[in-house]
């Protein structure tokens, strides 16, 4: 799951092809993903993992790294 999310973020959100991120890299605070972009990332997660994440749980803190996103997704995957 983490690999899938990481690959998607690298493909869709990183502008510089030389930049490398890991599952711990801050995504929101570093500016790779902003509060507006979080919506498309949320759509991706819900579609890919066939889940529904309540808006109250889709916070900047919960989206701040691939590890944190995976933790969040795991709570909703059956």
């Amino acid at each position: 799951m983490k690999e899938l999310i990481l690959t998607y973020i690298v493909k869709e959100y990183l502008e510089d092809e030389d930049e490398e991120i890991t599952c711990d890299t801050p995504l929101i605070s570093s500016g790779y993903v902003d509060s507006f972009s979080m919506v498309s990332l949320l759509v991706f997660l819900e579609k890919k993992f066939k889940i529904k994440i309540p808006p109250s749980r889709a916070t900047p803190e919960a989206f701040n790294s691939v590890n944190k996103i995976a933790d969040l997704v795991n709570q909703y995957v059956e």
Binding site: E12, E15, D16, E17, D18, E19, P26, I28, S29, S30, G31, V33, D34, S35, F36, S37, V39, S40, V43, F44, K47, T59, P60, E61, N64
Partner: protein, 567 residues
């Protein structure tokens, strides 16, 4: 006692020459914002005062004195001069909020060139149309944004210099690319600052147009007079204050009140180059003992959403004065800030075109939650009848918010768009494009836009620009873009789409379209929701009835539909 003192007394005795006197400026003199924000502060004996406290997302801190800002802006300005850049050239800033952005802003002004700040989250299409329109000669950027510039540079014959401030030696520079590493270049102690005059162009900010491409709003060095006085009286900045303006300098708040206003007053400025997160923001306030905080209603509502418990772990007693800008500040947010911070946010109203604050809740004046309060001294504000364009004298009646022209920071033109500029003035008034009302106490209340422009989190988005970009997606047949209500951002972008024949809607396509717009324009312009339709509502003449879709989203009456072609 606030800097303003009595609002009524200021009204009686006001003249913009007061600002000129405080800045030791006389009509016809040289006036250069770059010099005023650095050299002058040093000359007045505050060279060793901290001008900039900077922290990035990883917690890395830097601080710079006014003398260091002076030297860094001299060095950057001289570098630009040596490349052959001269006065009136447009030089774009396309960077995150790193110190080089602030030094470059002043350095560009010092050589008499025009600063064109652009939001670094813009996609390549948004960047291209703005650089092409301004015939920009140089762009200063970071490695991380270089790929967007490289993608469009061949279509921009006027773009001669691409300056990278964090170039790593091992990587090769391509044609037209130059490295500027502040640490590797000897600081320039003395430079010949270009003798700009009051009407010399200073900053070119781009703003969304209702029916066309973005418009370049041209400001001049004399705008300093308004920006200095409004910062002093509205934001009440005093010598010992530590000030945080959360706006990005890609937008006008980030330059007028994120650089020019505070630095012309010699105030210490804080910059947090990090994405939004409530604990991070509170920690930043606590750590730097921020006393004056200027932010946006969307951020305040996001903090409200995060809850009071997040605040409780931080000591925010340094906060002395709070203000907000960018969109209407709802009364709940004002009441919440009083209960949580013990201070109310003071709403301010102005636009890219006005260059400085026009209407504000002033210190020591009663705050009516939800109201913008009263015009700045020297500003004549009214609401106009939308038919006659005459001022409405009846309190509470809704009209167009307008101002008597000729305050120092008023725009001087739209770049290459004279006709659009002249359309802003009707019957001797500057028309803001916003609707409002004035109550019996003379307080202004914001009602909404008078056009289709979407205000999302304080950023204006043109439906036209998004619709045009959507049509470039291979699956999209037709598109209509409207504002959708949102609890935090007030409005967000929603797209209604019909697909080309033979294609069917699905969630993959929705995501693809969202990302397409995000990369092409910006995350702000990205539709937060895409609704696929079999057909869009149109008039009999074939024009898409955006009004109907807007009404549907807002649960409003749809009004007259006699011209509707399809049910």
């Amino acid at each position: 006692m606030s800097n303003l003192g009595s609002y009524d007394n200021r009204l009686k005795n006001f003249d913009w020459s007061l600002g000129e006197k405080e800045l030791d400026y006389k009509g016809g003199d040289v006036i250069n914002i770059g010099w005023y924000c650095s050299d002058r502060i040093c000359q007045k004996g505050s060279g060793e005062k901290i001008a900039l406290y900077y922290e990035n997302f990883g917690g890395k801190e830097k601080r710079f004195t006014f003398n260091e800002v002076r030297l860094a802006s001299n060095t950057l300005g001289s570098f630009l001069n040596n490349l052959g850049l001269i006065n009136e050239d447009r030089v774009c800033l396309f960077m995150d909020r790193i110190p080089e952005l602030y030094f470059s802003f002043l350095g560009i002004l010092k050589i008499g060139a025009i600063v064109q700040p652009l939001f670094s989250a813009f996609g390549d299409e948004s960047l291209f149309v703005r650089l092409e329109d301004a015939q920009t000669r140089a762009i200063i950027t970071q490695r991380k944004h270089l790929c967007k510039v490289r993608k469009i540079r061949d279509k921009l014959p006027n773009l001669e210099f691409i300056i990278i401030v964090d170039h790593v030696g091992a990587k090769e520079l391509e044609e037209k690319e130059f490295s500027f590493n502040l640490k590797a270049i000897p600081a320039v102690e003395i430079m010949n600052i270009f003798p700009t005059k009051a009407e010399s162009a200073s900053v070119l900010h781009y703003t969304s147009g209702t029916t066309g491409q973005p418009k370049g709003v041209r400001h001049v060095h004399y705008s300093l007079i308004s920006q200095y006085l409004t910062t002093k009286w509205v934001l009440d900045l005093q010598d010992s204050d530590i000030y945080w303006c959360t706006a990005d300098p890609g937008w006008v708040t980030g330059t007028s009140y994120g650089i020019i206003g505070p630095w012309s007053l010699g105030i210490s400025l804080c910059v947090l180059d990090s994405g939004f997160s409530p604990p991070t923001w509170y920690k930043f306030i606590e750590k730097y003992k921020i006393s004056v905080w200027y932010t946006a209603p969307t951020a305040i509502r996001s903090l409200m959403k995060a809850g009071v418990r997040v605040v409780e772990g931080f000591d925010l007693t340094s906060l002395r004065y709070l203000a907000s800008v960018g969109e209407p500040l709802n009364s709940e947010a004002v009441i919440w800030s009083q209960s949580v911070f013990g201070k109310t946010f003071h709403d301010t109203y102005w636009q890219t075109e006005t260059g400085s604050i026009m209407i504000a809740n002033f210190p020591e004046m009663k705050v009516k939650p939800g109201s913008m309060c009263k015009p700045f001294p020297g500003i004549t504000g009214v609401v106009l009848d939308p038919i006659t364009f005459e001022p409405i004298n009846e309190s509470g009646k809704i009209g167009l918010i307008a101002f008597k022209p000729d305050w120092p920071a008023m725009l001087r033109s739209y770049w290459n768009k004279d006709e659009k500029y002249h359309e802003k003035f009707v019957n001797g008034w500057f028309i803001t494009g916003d609707k409002g009302r004035i109550d019996s106490d003379g307080y202004f209340w914001f009602i909404g836009r008078d056009d289709d422009i979407i205000n999302t989190g304080g950023h204006l988005v043109s439906p036209f620009e998004v619709e045009s970009a959507l049509l470039e997606h291979p699956a999209v047949g037709e598109s209509a873009v409207v504002a959708k209500p949102d609890e935090v951002s007030m409005e967000v972008v929603k797209a209604f789409i019909t697909l080309k024949q033979g294609l069917t809607a699905n969630s993959d396509l929705e995501l693809e379209i969202m990302n397409f717009i995000r990369k092409k324009l910006s995350s702000i312009a990205m539709p937060q929701e895409v609704e696929f339709m079999d057909q869009l509502p149109k008039t009999r003449s074939g024009k898409i009835m955006r009004r109907l879709l807007h009404a549907k989203e807002w649960g409003e009456e749809i009004g007259d539909i006699s011209t509707l072609e399809n049910d």
